[in-house]
């Protein structure tokens, strides 16, 4: 079994497709929860989360022997930034892309799929 990071990309100033009314929000949440349950039943759901906006980011730079510099983030000034992500289990890229397609459909956002290799204690994460 392999793991993939599905990064959900937000585009700054592009509210198109985002839930605008409480009813839409409710429908949106319904779709997301249903999808996460589906992933969970299939053994694909590993971990997921949402990020605060890029304005909340802080960058720490420096390396061995260098002074650390802390600056107001984000790391890269761009219109697109990661709004949330999933770590999923999948046999291969085609399977991961199939889940990605469902995520795109549920949340109406473009996503990036990248192979992921856990180095820490992912097994302790919630949702396990």
């Amino acid at each position: 079994m392999n793991q993939y990071l599905l990064s959900v990309y937000d585009v700054e100033g592009d509210g198109a497709g985002a839930p605008a009314t409480p009813e839409e929000m409710q429908a949106f949440m319904g779709r997301v929860i249903a999808l996460e349950e589906e992933m969970d039943r299939a053994g694909a759901f590993e971990f997921g989360g949402a990020l605060h906006g890029p304005d909340a980011a802080t960058v720490v730079r420096g390396g061995t022997g260098l002074d650390k510099v802390t600056t107001d983030g984000p790391f890269v000034e761009a219109k697109e930034h990661i709004g949330g992500f999933y770590i999923i289990n999948a046999d291969n890229l085609d399977e991961a892309l199939a889940w990605a397609g469902k995520v795109v459909e549920a949340i109406n956002h473009d996503i990036e799929v990248r192979p992921f290799r856990a180095t820490g204690r992912l097994q302790d994460a919630p949702g396990r």
Binding site: N2, D91, N92, L93, D94, A96, L97, V113, R114, P115
Partner: protein, 409 residues
């Protein structure tokens, strides 16, 4: 190309594909097949080319690959006893069939043309792994440096490995889209060879690979259609000039067309028609078959050709199809109608020399030489090959009465 070279090129796809199935690693498979070829170069001249060269290459490559895996394992054993034990267990299990399997090459074709790989990488991988071209040959085929091509191949193989792009034939639900991607790669390879005489061998390569695909998936009519399209285009190649001059379809000496290829292409088109699952490549092949059926340009059945263009544009509504359809309609309904249709795509195709060349030709027929000259002038400025540029400049010069190649054309 001598016998050994041809045997190598034909053995490369099946051998690499089989080795990938056995060992799950493209680079290991490529290296092992390369080693087997080196062994063959030494052995075959003395012992003779074996009856089954592909089988010989696969068996030799498999043994080389096992050696390579063992060598790297032995190194690791010192530090990773446990991992080595597990790997050894895997090797001794080895129930895999070393015989090339029908599906091996097909799996590899679909892996090389996976939509998660960018198109230029798909093309490079296909030529390298299935086609058996050396990295240097692939580089020269796409007019990039060997270094650039090597990096491209490494990146593509890295993506396949890291992202676990599956080594399998897609299931029925995905097959149409995935097959289309494979056919577009073959189409790109063919056109690279058709656009440039110096790279003409790419046409042969595309035809060979398409024949492999057709033999592996004989029930896919679009693959047959693509093969027919290539064959019918190849058939007329001898009449298209030596590369130094453009010879238009209507001016071609049709006795130079290859009648054997035309018969083969037309038979394929008819076989497609009977299946009644006409897709874009089959329709394009049908149009070419009609052109090839006319003994003289005046005998061309333009009504039937327009009918096929109507069906083609319904399934493939691209501006280039609209352009070609407009040119055909000009033959049935007159240049005025054709010109009006061209206006519909003029904006989208403004940077495409053939739009302006077609406009020039229709304006000329309508007795509007000044506008026609302007159109040819614009076409010449946009054309990419020297042959096209000099042809279009000459057309322009003829209309303005200037000395050929003189200003303003």
């Amino acid at each position: 190309m001598d016998d050994v070279e041809r045997a190598f090129r034909e053995a490369h796809g099946p051998a690499v594909a089989t080795l990938i199935r056995l060992f799950g690693d493209i680079t290991l498979a490529e290296d092992a097949v390369q080693d087997a070829f080196t062994a063959a170069v030494h052995r075959w001249p003395q012992d003779g080319v074996p009856d089954n060269p592909v089988g010989w290459i696969v068996t030799t490559a498999r043994n080389r690959a096992i050696d390579a895996v063992r060598r790297s394992r032995r190194g690791r054993e010192l530090t990773e006893q446990i991992a080595a034990d597990r790997l050894r267990a895997e090797t001794s299990a080895g129930p895999e069939d070393p015989e090339p399997m029908h599906d091996d090459q097909l799996r590899l074709i679909f892996t090389c043309c996976h939509p998660a790989i960018r198109v230029e990488h798909q093309v490079a991988l296909t030529l390298r792994l299935i086609g058996g071209l050396t990295p240097a040959e692939v580089a020269s085929a796409f007019l990039v440096s060997e270094d650039t091509m090597a990096k491209r191949l490494v990146r593509a193989k890295y993506k396949i490995k890291a992202a676990h792009i599956p080594y399998q034939v897609p299931d029925q639900s995905e097959l149409p889209d995935r097959l289309r991607a494979v056919l577009s790669v073959l189409y790109l390879i063919y056109n690279a060879g058709a656009d440039d005489v110096g790279r003409g061998h790419l046409r042969a390569e595309a035809v060979r690979l398409t024949r492999v695909l057709v033999s592996l998936m004989p029930d896919e009519p679009e693959s047959l259609g693509l093969l027919a399209l290539f064959i019918l285009s190849d058939a007329r190649m001898p009449a298209r000039g030596d590369g130094a001059h453009v010879v238009l379809l209507k001016d071609q000496d049709r006795s130079l067309w290859d009648s054997a290829l035309i018969s083969e292409g037309q038979a394929l088109v008819l076989a497609c028609m009977r299946r009644q699952r006409l897709g874009p490549f089959q329709l394009q092949a049908a149009i070419q078959a009609l052109h090839c059926a006319a003994l003289r340009y005046e005998d061309t059945d333009w009504t039937a050709i327009v009918r096929f263009y109507d069906r083609l544009i319904a399934v493939m509504p691209t501006p280039v199809v609209a352009l070609n359809r407009a040119v055909a309609v000009a033959e049935t309904q007159g240049p005025e109608t054709g010109l009006a249709l061209l206006e519909g795509v003029a904006e989208e195709l403004d940077g495409f020399h053939l739009l302006h060349a077609a406009r020039g030709s229709l304006l000329e027929r309508l007795g509007r030489p000044r506008e026609a000259a302007d159109a040819y002038h614009r076409a010449a400025a946009l054309a990419r090959t020297d042959t096209d540029i000099s042809f279009l400049k000459r057309r322009c010069a003829e209309l303005t009465g200037d000395v050929p190649a003189g200003p303003p054309c």
